[in-house]
Symmetry: D2
Subunit: 357 residues, 4 copies
């Protein structure tokens, strides 16, 4: 029998932190044991948290005291989940990994270290082996594994089976992202009421950069065209939604490509999490809807089981013989962050990188 | 000297009706003389109108009584502006045209009659000559001229100079449209708070159909590729903005095309309204912004002079050698409806279709 | 052992209908057996419902076919829940009651029939006895029991223990109500984006009328002042929230009244549902928060267990010796409608009005 | 003839700063000559300002360079308008006043200095004489005059004529305030989408404190009851509106008071600005509407001439013989800040405190 793993959640009162707490409260073998915060240390979690998600603070957790982000106090912690903000995350995560902690990070700071996996468990599980190199090069007992930007995940999960199977030539993304993706306080209300807020060149570029890396790690069945010849572009925005990134993708191909086959590829797509029946793996990472005006952010962001772990794809259309259009909807703080982190942890347990004893 | 033309505004209390009233209140030679409504006949306009625009009900108009939509009462009316809703508009407009009225319609009902112009004055002014055929075929003294769907205008105005000058191959549009485009009561609040509302296949299709017709009427400088070989597609949505349709366009070309030249073509684009210095013609129909996160709906929808008559284009980017990205923002009830209608009327006056004496 | 009661839900795809479905899916002895709709008859419930609440359409219900509102098809139905809209509800409910059905209505049409209870089970459970009179007078086997307007419940539940125990002199309410209270499509988006929508004299008046009746049925411990001498007033509004009516109450008293005692009275308030441990009874109908800027609509509307069944009261303040201020937050479609209906049904089962066998 | 006065606007790119710029661009004798900012010094005003108001950056101002907040560079400045944020404002304003500048401040820092006027020109113009004391005590050539909190003005302007004329006993306010009142970035979007945000005890208290002071400076026609015996209370909130504070007031009286007389008092209320025909004085500081569901924030916040300078009062009701209810709507950044500041400056010019030569 598996022992329970004790998890520390850094930034536990943040928008991703609360999803870790919510999902781990019912987890079969990972327990939210150490809730780290800043500014609220010493206070009962339930009193100070902004619970901007479904349900309410789980019993038994509401009374836990928020603790400092201090590895010396975490002797019995097995996994560290780090949804810390950019800049703050980097040095903290490194410190933890050096001290032997297994760190699963949702933060961008180490995503492009060459020996750090940036993982979507269904898409590039084999990149877990980078951990071996990481430890060797850095002489660490612990490690850092990251998950990609929520926006990049919303695109990459449906694009993975397409790039695996078809001669994809280009992807032109337009996003309508939710406010929670920017953290709290994040987006100013005066930027978003009666407005759409373009996120600008920097955000567009990082989305493309991450999608590019993920696709480079997909196990393709065809080799043509090479990724360098595929054009990827993104135009990113926030709108006044609380959770859920909605993305419109126009995909072009080098040869005639049938939208029904593209649909089949997405619908049938599963990966190691499904094969291994990991506890947080949805039956299907991609759910397809045929309804005309769906998915919709409000109604579909919690799709899948666990809720919010499936990306919903819809509005599939054959634009011309070599162009297909679809839209995707991802729950950015669940599949795109906390849920993705937990699924990654579960995979690393199976692969032996996290000791289950 | 020009005499003043008396205009009737049908649906004068609607969202487009109020922009007609606002713009005509200061017009040099068209006067809002007859305000037709339904359900509010006999009441003072200023008391019952929902003035969902800038400023307040113009003095001298607030006290005008709302009148029935009855041609018998409109003896001295010179122009009829009809922003009536789909379905209602068709027969009413026909009745008026038969009786000799000059009808400028923002409604879809007659847009695809083969002898009815669907006009953006800068883009396809020569289609005014369809009026001659219309009168001949139908034996009417009056006529119907339409303006295109606001969404189609937001795309077509920037695409016109591109299609005129470059070997455009395809356009993939994603829209974030405002609530006023659907009229009042229009979109239910529960469809739009914390949501993005896909408009579905029907709306996508009519957008493409109208853009296609407009491009077919552009005066091109090149003939390749023929329009039939150009792929046009649209994925349309509403978001919680009050006015202003924001559209992201990915444009592909048959040959290498420099984004700077595309920019120049848009920036330099003018048409007959500018040459004729029509009173409601903005100096430039397309204003280009180089700012990173602009245009924004809240801040840029009233661009140009008269306010709201220029389309703002920004975020121009060379995606690859044959792909360019830009976004456009159009004030849907001004340039995309009432303002477009007034500019059309001004053009028809100059062309002699509306008698100026 | 109790047999399962089969419930029909009229208007099952509406905003209150879905809460009935959600809550009954887990109910110990009432089963959502007959989902009646209009316009969607014959279609699977899960396909056509706008599930504007938490979770997703319960398994086993998604596939149920929507059926007509026809008593002839409901032979084995034990309870009819009717959240039909005003005007439509009245005759339908009467027809059902005549035919012997037990009708629990959330609609206003019969609320002020003199022999029809308008029930908040914690507040006026004894009014169940009006059923006897109703049957006698109308010679019905079935009956109609109503629940009050959501807005009136949000005020009445906290006011009940105050009126029971203190010499309450007046109540001045200001409400900020959610969109779901108006049904779907309900409030137009253009009425609510960048706006607060006053509901006007009619809505203010019906709120006061219902609060007045409920208070008249409270079991008071004091008799002074008589209700006729108590001033009640309401100024009602909608704002852009999806669920949750937020109400500010200024309460004046005839004598010095200590806010701490008022708080105790509310906090300690329970009724028959709690004493009988009815399955949908929250432990406390009123939850008090001492946090400064709470309750908040987003964070507190699902308070209690079952979620949304407790009214949250906060910002209690001694304004002067004879004036107390508090705010209340009620989940309008749960406690204020479906949940209130289910709790009423449970009470009527206990009281023998609904046959449990 | 009057010479033109040159104004410096501190925080000129802020939400109140832009209203100063907009209003002064057309002012007959005050010119926006020096635009001070922070973080944007040296850049053209038009390029960096978030113009979150009507119209567009006035010509001739768009090109002005933003300058440092440095009195040494302001030799020829006649008036300094200071809408700086709390905390930052205090020392800066003091420095300017010491150096001989006339400072009109919208900031709270000096509002309760005993020798500093907190002025609503129609309500307490005589408090200008505090300037004499201020100069004597502090040995300053310049001075500081403040305007009250926008929320306090929305209540005080309609309450002034009531308190002047009737035996007002208590006021219970509930507010729904706009986002612009909190500045930019101000309120986090996640605090306001699908929510109403209570502002808490601190904000409630400062509203009451300022209303109390203003009422203490009203020129009453009756002396009973003394202000100390009047109960004032406020429950304050923000909702997702951009501009416009909406406030519900329940007013109680010591004797029977006729709502029609209260209405007349408000409607007829004018003050020195109207008598002196100051350029920014609206004809009526209070406009009364009899429409049932008005005022509404979106439609009525720009009431009056200059737009936004009149408070709109509506929903007047006789609650009982000694209680009256009304709602008020004030444009918080215009009448409640910049417009109030300009009107104050105009009054001080007339009174000789600002040299007009």
């Amino acid at each position: 029998m598996r022992r329970t793993l004790k998890a520390a959640i850094l930034g536990a009162t943040g928008l991703v932190g609360i999803e870790y707490v919510r999902m781990l409260a019912d987890h079969p073998y990972i327990r939210p044991a150490y809730l780290a915060g800043k500014g609220s240390v010493g206070k009962p979690y339930g009193e100070i948290v902004r619970w901007q998600t479904i349900g309410s603070v789980p019993k038994g957790i509401a009374d836990q005291e928020v603790k400092p982000t201090d590895p010396k106090l975490m002797d019995d912690v097995d996994i560290v989940f780090s949804p810390l903000p950019q800049g703050a995350a980097g040095p903290v995560e490194e410190q933890f990994a050096k001290l032997g902690f297994y760190v699963i990070s949702n933060s961008p700071d180490h995503r492009f270290d060459m020996d750090v996996p940036m993982m979507i468990p269904e898409v590039n599980p084999h990149t877990a082996s980078l951990i071996d190199e990481q430890r060797r090069r850095r002489d660490w007992k612990g490690f850092i594994v990251t998950t990609p930007l929520c926006t990049a995940q919303g695109a990459s999960i449906p694009l993975a089976p397409i790039f695996m199977n078809f001669k994809m030539n280009g992807v032109m993304l337009t996003t309508m992202q939710s406010l929670s993706g920017a953290g709290y306080p994040g987006i100013a209300s005066l930027d978003i009421v009666d407005n759409a807020l373009p996120l600008g060149d920097g955000y567009d570029a990082k989305t493309v950069k991450e999608v590019t890396r993920i696709l480079s790690e997909v196990r393709r069945r065809i080799q043509d065209p090479p990724l360098e010849e595929v054009t990827l572009d993104a135009t990113t925005h926030r709108i006044a939604t609380i959770h859920g990134h909605y993305e419109v993708a126009y995909v072009t191909f080098k040869e005639d490509t049938d939208v029904h086959k593209v649909k089949e590829a997405m619908e049938g797509f599963i990966g190691e999490p499904q094969e291994l029946k990991l506890p947080s793996a949805p039956e299907r990472p991609i759910l397809i809807t045929d309804q005309d005006a769906r998915p919709q952010v409000f109604f579909d962001r919690w799709a899948g089981n666990p809720p919010g772990m499936s990306v919903v794809v819809g509005r599939l259309k054959q634009v011309n013989r070599r162009t297909v259009r679809f839209v995707s909807l991802i729950h950015n703080t669940v599949r795109g962050a906390a849920g993705g982190g937990i699924l990654t942890a579960e995979l690393l347990v199976e692969k032996g990188y996290i000791d289950k004893r």
